[in-house]
Amino acid sequence: MIKIIGACMIIASTTGAGMFISRQFSERPKQLRQLRSALQSLEAEIMYGLTPVKEAASRLSGQLPKPLSLFFEKLAVKLSEEEEAVTLQSAWKESLEAFWQQTALQKNEKEIMYQFGATLGKHDSENERKQIRLALAHLEREENEARNAQSKYEKMAKSLGLLAGLLIVLLLL
């Protein structure tokens, strides 16, 4: 009896792990797409509304779905602090750092966002637009890659979890 319960537990846990990994594969392209649409909204705010970053960020935080809205919310809060040392760049970096853990996003896109943040608010709108376009292009490439990885590995990770559990159980029986 105990054996069966143990076996079930092992299978359940490895399946869970497999599900978790496969979720990472399916979440990443989704979040990348959201990130791109966020940057597109930012572009619209900058180009047509000439909205300051702070206001744009608080507006975006209301529009976007959950993990991403946290980033812009944090950014808006940091920028409205009346402190001496706050710069857009430092606030961007800190918010990015804090929010990154809650996403399925990876190092490549983090690098892209860092680089984009370094130029934000430093140029006229024409140049801002170019920078946003550049970041968008990079993100699109990452998204395609993520999609490929998703189609390749998502199902595999799931079944691998279950099969690994079965294997362990069979070995231990």
């Binding site: 710069t87 608010g121 006229d124």
Partner: protein
């Protein structure tokens, strides 16, 4: 004043806060130049703060960051014109390296000088003019003439306030006022909202070219009195004529020392010949700005000032 102090970098802020209270209220300009000490203009005379405190390039960047709320693109238009109007109607003039495109100024980069002009609205400056400019229930079209720094804009701003609020004790009712504020000086708008006290019945077209703005105002806002700053181009004359035909009074300013002086200027000739203006006010500056020298009627005849010795 607080709106200005909030923007300043820490070192500058501390220096200014050390000044005695009565001096602080009299500050007219704060001039910051990269790698130079801070200069203040108090009651028209320069005043150098602590020579040890040097305004650094880093602080200049901080200041511009704060002026633009970390978003330089919001200041594109301002960087082309060379000044930024901030909350409270104060104005920050900028100088530095200018970038041109096709022969036109595109923006100022590497900003190295800031001139923060503290706005002091002089409420009541135009009260002595009321008996000359108001006649039988309407405000007369008026041209305010003065050299730079004689308080033309101050006078204009106060007239706008008087007209929109009305003058209770003279039984002058309030009127709708339209201001075409090409240089954002009359109303001192931030995001389209006037920062100066102008009464309730004022509509402002901020940063709008004058001739076009006057036509827009006439067509869309039906003002009873139209107020513009620094007229002088040919298109302006046409727009003014249009306003008069629509029965709107126009109050405008122009650079010059006197009416006789203006008649010599070819661009202004058509403006003056059309009998557009019914009153001319000449301003001079002695100890302080805004002294009224003469008020002339439409024929260029002087109307005596009340209380003036004959």
């Amino acid at each position: 004043m607080n709106e200005v102090i909030r923007l300043l970098p820490k070192t500058v802020k501390e220096c200014i806060q050390k000044l005695p209270e009565h001096k602080k209220d009299l500050i007219e300009e704060i001039r910051l130049r990269v790698q130079r000490p801070i200069e203040l203009l108090i009651e028209g005379s320069p005043y150098t703060l602590n020579n040890q405190v040097i305004f650094s390039a880093q602080e200049a960047r901080e200041l511009i960051d704060r002026l633009s709320e970390f978003s330089l693109y919001t200041l594109e238009e301002e960087l082309r014109r060379g000044y930024v109007t901030i909350k409270g109607g104060h104005r920050v003039g900028l100088a530095g390296r200018v970038i041109t495109q096709k022969g036109q100024v595109k923006m100022i980069r590497d900003i190295s000088s800031f001139n923060i002009r503290i706005a002091h609205q002089q409420i009541g400056a135009a009260v002595p003019l009321i008996p000359y400019l108001y006649n039988r229930g309407r405000w007369l079209s008026t041209l305010v003439i003065g050299a730079p720094q004689t308080g033309k804009t101050t006078m204009l701003r106060d007239l706008a306030r008087l007209i929109s609020q009305g003058v209770r004790n003279r039984q002058i009712f309030s009127r709708k006022v339209g201001i075409v504020d090409e240089r954002s000086e009359i109303a001192g708008c931030v995001k389209g909202i006037p920062q100066n006290e102008l009464g309730h019945r004022v509509d402002v077209l901020d940063a709008c070219p004058k001739a076009e703005g006057m036509m827009m105002m006439i067509r869309s806002m039906s003002p009873e009195v139209l107020i513009v700053d620094e007229i002088g181009r040919k298109e302006d004359a046409e727009a003014l004529q249009e306003a008069l035909n629509a029965g709107i009074s126009v109050i405008a300013t122009v650079h010059g020392s006197s009416l006789d002086d203006l008649i010599k200027r070819p661009t202004l000739k058509s403006l003056l010949e059309g009998c557009i203006f019914q009153r001319f006010v000449e301003l001079t500056r002695d100890k302080r700005a805004g002294r009224i020298r003469r008020v002339l009627n439409e024929n260029g005849k002087s109307i005596r000032l009340i209380g003036e010795a004959t």
